[in-house]
Every structure is written in C-alpha cells, then in structure tokens.
C-alpha cells in the first residue's frame, strides 16, 4: 500500500472543507445548497476512500485474497439517498423563499 497524497481520503477531506468554506462565504441560497452538496460529496469520497485497498476487487463472489471493504460503499448508498432528499427539499424551500421574498440573497432573506 503506497502512500499517495492524492487518494480518496485526502480529496474527500479537501472537498468537504471547500464545502464548509463555501457555506461560510456564499451569499446566494442556491450556492449554499450547492456547497452542502459539495460537503457531502467530499464525505462520500472520504468514506469510499476508507474502504479502498490498493489493487482490491469488488467482493461479489469469493476467491479473492485482496478485496475492497464493501461496508463504506453500502453506507454511502444510504448517504446518497439522504443527501438527495435534503437537496431536493432545500431547493424546494429555496423556490418558496424566492416566491415570497423575490430574492435569494441571504442578507435580504434574514428578516
């Protein structure tokens, strides 16, 4: 197992931090929702990276000596579903907010 700096874990963490940074800086609701997506994307990558083994294969049938840990991948299926519903709900709410306030700028939505 070689130590590449560019692997699922580091990229995942970097993406996660980018998402957090976006949530801290973006002024537009849609962009904030996108940043949430980036955060979760990073997390998904992080999890998949955790289970990844150099040269491993999918453990579908027996007979492999080196295989990828399947548990994080299955977990991430659930996370993808959860994230999908959160994003769709957020976007739906953003539409309603836009209807009511005629803007998506968080500063004006504040009150």
């Amino acid at each position: 197992m070689s130590l590449h700096l560019v692997n699922g874990i580091t990229i995942g963490i970097v993406l996660f931090l980018i998402g957090v940074f976006g949530c801290m800086t973006q002024r537009n609701l849609i962009k904030i929702v996108l940043c949430l997506d980036i955060m979760f994307l990073g997390l998904i990558l992080f999890f998949v990276g955790l289970g990844y083994t150099e040269g491993g294969t999918a453990p579908i049938l027996g007979g492999y000596s080196v295989y990828v840990d399947p548990l994080p991948q299955t977990l991430m299926l659930t996370t993808v579903v959860v994230e999908l519903s959160v994003t769709s709900l957020a976007l739906a709410l953003a539409i309603r907010v836009y209807e009511q306030y005629k803007t998506l700028d968080i500063e004006e939505v504040r009150t």
Binding site: M39, F40, L43, V86, A90, L93, V109
Partner: protein, 487 residues
C-alpha cells in the same frame, strides 16, 4: 419479546407510509378521510404505547433488551437495544407525540386535510425511535436525518414566508452539523474498523493510549454537531426561529422531544470514549453554563411568546448539559430527570401557548388577554415548574443538579443555576401577568377550545404535578438509567 424493538421503529414508519397514501386518494369524502386518518394515527400510537408497556417490566428491572437485525452477530450487523436510559426518553417521547397528535386533530385541521402533516409527523416519530434504539452510529446518523428532514417539512406547514425562512435556516445549519457528524462517523470507522457502539467502546481505550488526537477530533465533531441540534449557545441560532415558527404541536415536539433526542445522542455517544469522558474536560459544563445564562438573558427581552419559550428551552438545555458536564452520578441523575421534566413541561407550555394565542389572537406577550381560567392555571403551573418552584417536578430535578454541582465542588456553577432560575422567574412572570388579565376588547365570538386541544395540556400539567410530588418515580428511573445505560 425483543422483536418488539423492531416493531417500535417499524410501526411509525409504516404508519407514515400508509398515511401518505391517504393524500393520494380523492374518491373518499373529506370528513370520512379525516376520520380514517385520526383513527389510524391513534391506533398506531396506541400500538407504540403498548409495545413500550410490554417491554417496561423487563427494562425497569434493569435488563437490557437487545435485538440484532438479520441475525448477524452484534459486532457486524445493526443491533437495536432498549435499556433504562433509552426507555426513559422513549416513554416521554411516545407520550408527548401522542398528545401532540391528539392536539393537532383540531389545531391543524385544515392543514391536515392534505395528509402530508400526518405522514411527516409519523416519520419524525420513527426517526426519534430509531435514534433511541439503534446501537450503530451510522444508523444513528440516518435516523437523525430522517428526524430532521421531517422536522424541516413540518415547520413549513404554516405556509407563511417566515416558516420557509426558518425551515431553510434550520435545514442548512442542520445539514452542516449532520455532515460534521458523518465526518466523525467516518473517522471512527477508520480508526476502530467498526460502527457498533459496543465494539467501539471496547477498542477505544487502547486507541486513546496510543494516539488520542483522532479521538479528540471525533469528540469535538460530535459535540459540535449535537450542540447544533440541541441548541448549545454559540450554535443555537436556528432554534428560536424554528421553534417559534412551527405550528404549536410541532413546537411542542421540537422543544420537548427533539432537543432531548440530541442530548440523548450526545450522552450515548460520549459513552464510547469511556465512562467519564464528558466530565474529565469541563468543556461541556462551561458551555452549559454559558448556555444557561445567555438563553435566560435572551429570553428576558423577547416580545413574542413562543420565541420566549424557545429561548427558555435553550437555557434549560444548558442546565441539562451542565448537569451532564459535571459528571458525578448525582448531577447526571438530576440532568436525566430534568430531561424528562423539561420534555413534559415545555411541550405542555407550547401546547398551552397554542391555545393562548388562539384565544387572545396575538403572539405578543404584552397583548395576551382573555385566556380561559383553566388554561391560565395550566400555564402558571407549568411555568412555575420551569422556574423551579416546589412541589413541581422542575424543582426536584434542579435541586438534584444543584446538589451534584456542590458535591463536585462547583459552587459557582450552582450559583449560576440559581441565578438563572431568578431570571426565568423574570420572563415567565411577565407572561403570567398578561395571561391573568381579562379580555381587553369586546368580541361577540369567543373561539371555543375543543377538548382535543385542552386535554393534552391538562394531562401534561397533571403529570408534572404528579412527578413533582412524587419525585422518586422519576429519580429512580434516572438512577437505573445511569447504572444500566453507561456502556
């Protein structure tokens, strides 16, 4: 017998699904549909109550009921477990959600016509039960998300612009905190190779000895994300909006139960790091004290009744956290009892506030008037309970926390708790004054209060008085929860 644990999660989940189906059908007349929905909701919640009652004797004798899904070994598969700690919170949750449902029969009548309210209400209950029962931390994350998503939707049922704003704010902050939680789960999996709480707790001491830094990261992330969900002070910003904008029965559940679920989550997860990890660093205690003070001071300046109640919740959550942070058995016992007490009192207060707002047609504290005597009495009793006046339940739990604080030589913390009760006296008596004033204007039509709205309030008030007069009922369960729950 332990199959009932699955039942407790599945029952509300299936009910939510079936109730969402009722939104599709259009052939059935509206009134019939409403009756079907009401009957079905009551039946589902009764089933939940019966399941809890069946398990109660075993749990209360100190037994731990475990069920492993799919027959996998506990370390591999997902285990559900009911011990005294989760039973205590689950019992309160089921009671309050039952009463909240009964309350919404008339309060939410026109919104419930659409059918989505019931469905998401049950989804929320399913999330609550799942978080309480699961022993798998990723599973806990999923149930937290189920709970949160249904809460986001329930907040919007008022369909005003403030509702959407509050819900979106909660959604963004809640999702960020969930992401932090998921991150913590990932790191835990990376260093322990397991998601089962028992297994993690077993291997954790060795890891702590080797390199404690990742464990500290996990702890901070969990504390942060649970802090957001339970409204600890530098993270509480979503709470007043969400709790005051939600319809009253939902506010009651949010303040009464959902906050307590996050506290439960924090407590449960803190057992992963060893018995007294929460107490060893006084971080939680200090954050709790800050929360108590800031919550009280902010509640003092609110003009809106429900917003004031929301800030009061923040302050009470701070009190609970202080008790947990002190970490001695006595303090934790008091904090756990206060979890129960505050759940009952605050949900009662929010339900009562719904009736008060309905009767005086104003949410502003200074403009409340013309409240019916029974409701005024309930409001007075419940708020006295929060202030901590004997012989109500809030007094007993506060007293136990105070004893715990002094026993652990945190006399100044005890002083702050006492100061907070004086402040709470300040903000509750302002409302009590207005609640007692007779109606200021002439109105021919006096809005009737149906029994479905008044009964839950009376019931909760009665329970509060009962628990206050006989505090050992709650304290002994809390004691059992510490004995059995730790681990």
């Amino acid at each position: 017998m332990s199959e009932l644990l699955v039942g407790m999660v599945i029952t509300p989940l299936i009910s939510a699904f079936l109730l969402s189906l009722t939104a599709v059908s259009h052939r059935v007349p509206h009134t019939v549909m409403m009756r079907i929905r009401n009957t079905f909701s009551v039946l589902a919640l009764t089933a939940l109550v019966i399941q809890l009652l069946l398990l109660a004797p075993r749990v209360l004798s100190g037994e731990v009921v475990t069920y492993t899904l799919g027959g996998w070994t506990p370390f591999m598969g997902i285990a559900l477990r009911l011990d005294a700690l989760s039973f205590m919170v689950a019992a309160v949750s089921v009671v309050v959600s039952f009463l909240g449902m009964v309350y919404s029969f008339s309060y939410m009548e026109h919104i419930r016509g659409l059918g989505k309210y019931d469905a998401f209400y049950f989804l929320m209950v399913a999330g609550i039960m799942g978080v309480l029962l699961t022993r798998d931390i990723f599973n806990m994350y999923v149930f937290f998300e189920i709970l949160s998503i249904s809460v986001y939707i329930l907040i919007t049922t008022g369909e005003k612009k403030e509702n959407y704003r509050a819900s979106l704010k909660y959604l963004i902050l809640g999702s960020v905190s969930s992401a932090f939680f998921l991150f913590a789960v990932g790191i835990t999996y990376a260093i322990t190779g397991s998601l089962n709480m028992d297994h993690i707790a077993q291997v954790m001491p060795a890891i702590m000895e080797e390199d404690p830094f990742p464990v500290y990261i996990i702890f901070s992330l969990i504390l942060g994300s649970m802090g957001v969900k339970s409204g600890l002070v530098p993270l509480h910003f979503w709470l007043p909006d969400a709790h005051s904008m939600a319809p009253s029965p939902v506010s009651a559940l949010l303040s009464g139960i959902v906050l307590k679920i996050s506290i439960y989550g924090l407590l449960r997860l803190s057992f992963l790091f060893g018995d007294s990890f929460l107490a060893s660093d006084s971080v939680l205690m200090i954050v709790g004290v800050v929360t108590v003070v800031v919550g009280s001071v902010l509640a003092l300046v609110q003009k809106d009744l429900k917003r004031m109640l929301a800030y009061s919740s923040i302050s009470q959550v701070g009190l609970i956290m202080t008790g947990l942070g002190i970490g001695t058995d006595l303090a934790v016992q008091g904090a756990l009892f206060h979890v129960v007490n505050h759940a009952l009192m605050k949900s009662g207060l929010f339900l009562c506030a719904g009736v008060i707002i309905h009767q005086s047609r104003s949410r502003e504290i200074s403009r409340i008037s013309g409240v019916s005597p029974g409701m005024a009495l309930c409001f007075v009793i419940l708020s006295l309970g929060i202030v901590g006046v004997p012989p109500l339940n809030g007094f007993s739990s506060k007293l136990v926390i105070l004893y715990g604080a002094v026993e652990a030589h945190y006399t100044s913390v005890a002083g702050v708790i006492v100061l907070a009760s004086v402040l709470s006296c300040g903000y509750y008596f302002r409302v009590v004054q207005s609640v007692l004033t007779p109606r200021k204007w002439k109105r021919t039509y006096n809005p009737p209060v149906p029994w479905t709205m008044s009964f839950p309030v009376y019931f909760l008030t009665a329970v509060c008085v009962f628990l206050g007069v006989f505090p050992l009922l709650g304290l002994s369960v809390a004691e059992l929860a510490i004995l059995v729950g730790g681990g």
